[in-house]
């Protein structure tokens, strides 16, 4: 009798779990639906609209004329916009490369620091970046300004004797961008460097490799995932940036991000701006895909 009851209970529980299991697809779908619907409406749909818009044209008063054509794209492939695109690509790649060169030794330092100090040292790197983005760029504006703090410092040290006039140049843009994106490079690099087992380096030393060789043959290859992730995290936002050139670059430094912004808010040629956005997206995606294929995908991108 008792065993019979227990058996019945067992059966009941089994059917309950089966019910949940049977419904689990429905449960998952219910949980994901708000995100799916929200992101479809405010991310996917707007991107589809921009894609369509890029094939339409602008009327005399800035309104959109619903007539399919390719002129927006052909207009982009002239000398002026070609130069802007090459320049944007240069700034984007330059920012990424400098961040990698500056960030690698720093990440290496962090990974080598005593375990107890590591999280504090990392925290100290991230701390300033919780302040406002515009504020940080503004700080560079007052540093780089002609006759400003950097000039005064360099003249006081007798390194230069005239203002460098750095503000409103591509160099200023590059400095601002590197400052802004350095943490994006350091974080994934540190994550992958920190994971490297010390025993591997000891083994290399035991086998007679001098430290520099151990670094090139062991540490460097093992930090590739971090480099890939850091490069992507730096390159994508750097390519679309228009705020830094706006504040530090002056009128001469125009990136593709500035072109897009201007078309939407001042020139009011939306279809043309949409076409420029498509080009920017395709360019970033293509380079990122090519790069990840070549170097292997960085798992650290997810962290």
């Amino acid at each position: 009798m008792i065993t019979e009851q227990a058996g019945e209970k067992q059966k009941n529980r089994f059917s309950l779990t089966r019910l949940i299991r049977e419904n689990s697809r429905a449960q998952g779908f219910f949980l994901i639906s708000p995100a799916n619907i929200y992101l479809f409406l405010l991310v996917v749909l707007p991107l589809i609209l921009v894609t369509i818009l890029s094939f339409l044209s602008r009327g005399t008063y800035g309104q959109v004329v619903y007539k399919f054509n390719l002129t927006n794209y052909t207009r982009l492939f002239n000398e002026l916009y070609g130069k802007v695109m090459v320049f944007s690509l240069g700034i984007g790649l330059g920012t990424t490369l400098i961040c990698l060169l500056v960030g690698y030794p720093l990440s290496y330092f962090l990974a080598r620091a005593p375990v107890r100090q590591r999280s504090l040292l990392l925290f100290l790197i991230l701390l300033p970046f919780w302040t406002n983005f515009i504020i940080r760029i503004f700080a560079w504006m007052i540093i780089l300004r002609s006759g400003g703090i950097l000039d005064s410092l360099l003249q006081w040290l007798h390194i230069t004797n005239a203002p460098l006039n750095l503000l409103y140049t591509p160099t200023a843009v590059l400095i601002g961008m590197v400052y802004e994106f350095l943490p994006f490079m350091v974080l994934p690099l540190y994550t992958s460097l920190e994971k490297i087992e010390n025993s591997l380096l000891e083994a290399a030393a035991d086998l007679g490799a001098p430290p520099w060789k151990a670094f090139i043959r062991v540490t460097l290859p093992l930090s590739v995932p971090g480099m890939v992730a850091g490069t992507i995290l730096t390159f994508i936002p750097a390519m679309g940036m228009f705020v830094v050139p706006d504040i530090l670059g002056g009128a001469k430094t125009i990136l593709i991000g500035n072109v897009i912004r201007n078309q939407f808010l001042t020139a009011r040629d939306w279809p043309f701006g949409a076409a420029a956005s498509m080009i920017l997206m395709v360019m970033t995606m293509a380079l990122t895909l090519y790069y990840t294929r070549k170097a292997g995908f960085g798992e650290e991108l997810l962290l």
């Binding site: 697809r25 949980l31 300033p128």
Partner: protein, 259 residues
């Protein structure tokens, strides 16, 4: 990695990079107390710019807008993002891969493209630009980041404790409220923190989705930087930096005490 201590050169180099990271912030703070208007040379100590700042009605309004947008968008994005993270971690459902791809779009496309696409969308459906459109847009870019952080934290989650609760008679809902949610709370909170920071900091998306009367602090600071650079911006930055620093340092201390 560890054991071998970083060499002297590496330590000097790192110290210099830390200098590069902190110099701009320190300079901003120092010059907020400067009597000279141009932010070029130190002339004398004053609190004048703080007085100007506290009497600036536009800054007050912008602060209110910024906080309002940040709180609402964080709350909504945290709920939707946590639900999505749970779904992706525990369930297999129709369109799983599509949902995952869509989640990554806001993270991988350049911000300016997301900004203009939202502008196009709101204008096409005749939605008046303002605080509502900014908040809706912030929720959109925050959902994926919350989901990402919560999902990372769910990685080591042992479902056996859920099963134990259900064996003891709790239904799905009770199990979620009393067992699952408290366990993943640290992840949910760090997701919410990230969302809050991203929202407070956002310039690009806000810029494209803002309308008259919905200026936020980053937008206000930008227009101040572009028109007339006065130490009032330094004063504002100093207060902003101080608030963030105090919050973060307290957060760190609280976390360490717990651990």
């Amino acid at each position: 990695m560890s054991e071998k201590k970083p060499s002297l050169w590496l330590r000097i180099y790192s110290f210099m990079v830390y200098g590069f990271i902190y110099a701009p912030i320190l300079i901003l703070i120092i010059f907020s107390f400067n009597t000279q208007k141009l932010n070029v040379r130190w002339e004398g100590f004053t609190l004048e710019w703080y007085k100007v700042l506290f009497n600036d009605a536009q800054i007050f309004l912008a602060t209110r807008n910024t906080l309002l947008i940040a709180f609402i968008s964080t709350l909504v994005a945290t709920i939707i993002g946590t639900m999505a993270a749970l779904a992706m971690h525990r369930y297999r459902f129709p369109l799983y891969n599509t949902s995952e791809t869509v989640m990554y779009i806001p993270i991988v496309i350049p911000e300016v493209v997301m900004g203009i696409s939202l502008l196009v969308f709101f204008v096409m459906i005749n939605f008046t630009l303002g605080l509502t459109t900014i908040t809706l847009s912030h929720i959109a870019f925050n959902i994926p980041f919350v989901a990402l952080v919560v999902r990372a934290r769910l990685h080591g989650y042992d479902r056996a404790i859920d099963e134990a609760a259900m064996d003891l008679g709790a239904n799905e809902l009770v199990t979620f409220w009393r067992v699952t949610l408290p366990t993943i709370m640290p992840g949910v909170l760090s997701g919410a923190m990230l969302a809050l920071t991203l929202s407070l900091d956002d310039y690009v998306i806000t810029y494209f989705t803002a309308g008259p009367g919905s200026t936020t602090l980053p937008l206000r600071v930008f227009s101040m930087v572009k028109t007339a650079v006065t130490p009032e911006i330094n004063a504002l930055s100093t207060i902003w930096v101080l608030i963030i620093f105090v919050l973060l340092v307290f957060g760190q201390i609280a976390q360490r005490k717990k651990a």
